[in-house]
Amino acid sequence: MIGQRAAPATDRAGEAGSGILSRWAARIFVAIVLLYLFAPVVVTVLFSFTTSPRLSLPIEGLTLDWYGQAFSNPLFMTALTNSLWLALVTAVVSVGLGLPFSFGLARLKDRARGPLLTASLVPAAVPALVLGLALAVFFTTIHVRPGLLPAAIGHILVALPFVILTLNARLETFDFTVLEAARDLGASPIRTFRDITFPIIRPSVLGAALLAMALSIDEFVVTWFTIGNQQSLPVLIWGLLRRGIDPAVNALATVVLFSLVVLVILASLLSRRRS
């Protein structure tokens, strides 16, 4: 709908170059897109602070009660602890697997590297629903009960392609001759990694780890199929949502949202920095 209205505007933008009309059409288009993207965010944060439990405009008053209610939910602390544990495990393991993999990729010839990189991204192209189901059936088959560990495996599977993608982008411009120089000067492989390689790629590694944490904290579908009776923040939110409108959900969601935004901003700042 937005696309149909805006398409002629850009054609004009292309024709007129820097005409005032096209300039405004372009600005309005960007503004509408941003409004569309941020409307849900604004609504959630706004209603986490309003007194009226019924969602209505104009806003009657402001309160922190919903935060109190959300935090005093006995399941909240469990969900928060579990989510943090999952995020940490996901970050450590996916980077632990993804970093050597990306180095291995960088050492391969182009003909082998392309298909292998594509193959490593395939899980990200499979709907989360199918990933979740496949893992649920798999763990049932090998008699592993649903819980935090299966959920962690699911999170790693979700995060690993993105970790590899991030690290691969960094290593494509990595100067491997530096390592050879270090080796020629007598440094051991471990020393070379610790003193040369890691300091150079550290920002990207941290960026990839934070991205993995963000993906983990936000992961719902695969988690729902693998976590059983355990809680995570999205699973808790889902449970509350199914019970009907509860403004405490907005408070809970705002907490998740805030932590995700912080992680993503940090991740993108780190990934962009080239030491």
Partner: protein, 285 residues
Amino acid sequence: MTVRPPAGAWRQLAPATAFYLVFFGIPLLILLVLSFWRQEGFTQVPDATLGNYAGGLTNKLYVTVLLRTILVALVTALIVVPIAYVMAYLMRFRFERRANLLLGLVLISLFSGYLVRIYAWRTILGTEGLLNTALLQLGLIAEPITALIFSPWAVMITLVGLLLPLALLPISSSMSNVSRDHVEAARDLGSNGLRLHRTVLLPMVLPGVGTAFAIAFVLAAGDFVVPTMLGGASGGTMIGNLITNFFRSSSADWPLGAALSFVVLALLVIVYLVTTRLLRWVSRR
């Protein structure tokens, strides 16, 4: 980069490859095997039947839901990709100086919580939601528009918001490889407006556009949370809801659910192949 002997490379590739094989390859294989089994009561019986596929593709309800899923995913992708293309174009060639800020904002919205955004759209689109309340107070409508929520429309409105950032990323990244001079030169030679896009820019960013379309279609077709929250009881059910029910509810039928999962996967591969071929054909004309 120097060419290095890949002797040690395989050792570095092994751990992640092993992880993928054990926790991605084998589970999918088990799911595939399961799709040829039979459900008897509460247990799955080993078999080598195509009954689940045949039954799944002849049952009127399943086919209706499958067709609706394809339609919703197709329309969603067809709305998302042009918007993402125009947005990426504007970020690259019109608002160059603020491109990083815009991209950052898009990324933040992408990570502003999957469930949160879906729930918020329900708040916005509901019969007593923000949009209806605002329209009522402005006097633009006399009665709340009930079709806004619990309909395929609500599902598509929400999916567009969810998938737009994801579609923007690949298009934006392939557009960053297009030089400004190239576009200027084409413009100087008299190529402008739609023609400039179709003959010059689009062919250059085609891989990104294809990826964006595939991502949007796959994620829209595979989503079951959005139709659960906003699709309503019957009119908005999608294939993800059916599959989920076969695995969770008392009317469990794992083999049928597994078969339907692979029908969806096959469908996604077909759509991907058709799209990439179609795009190549369009841009070559």
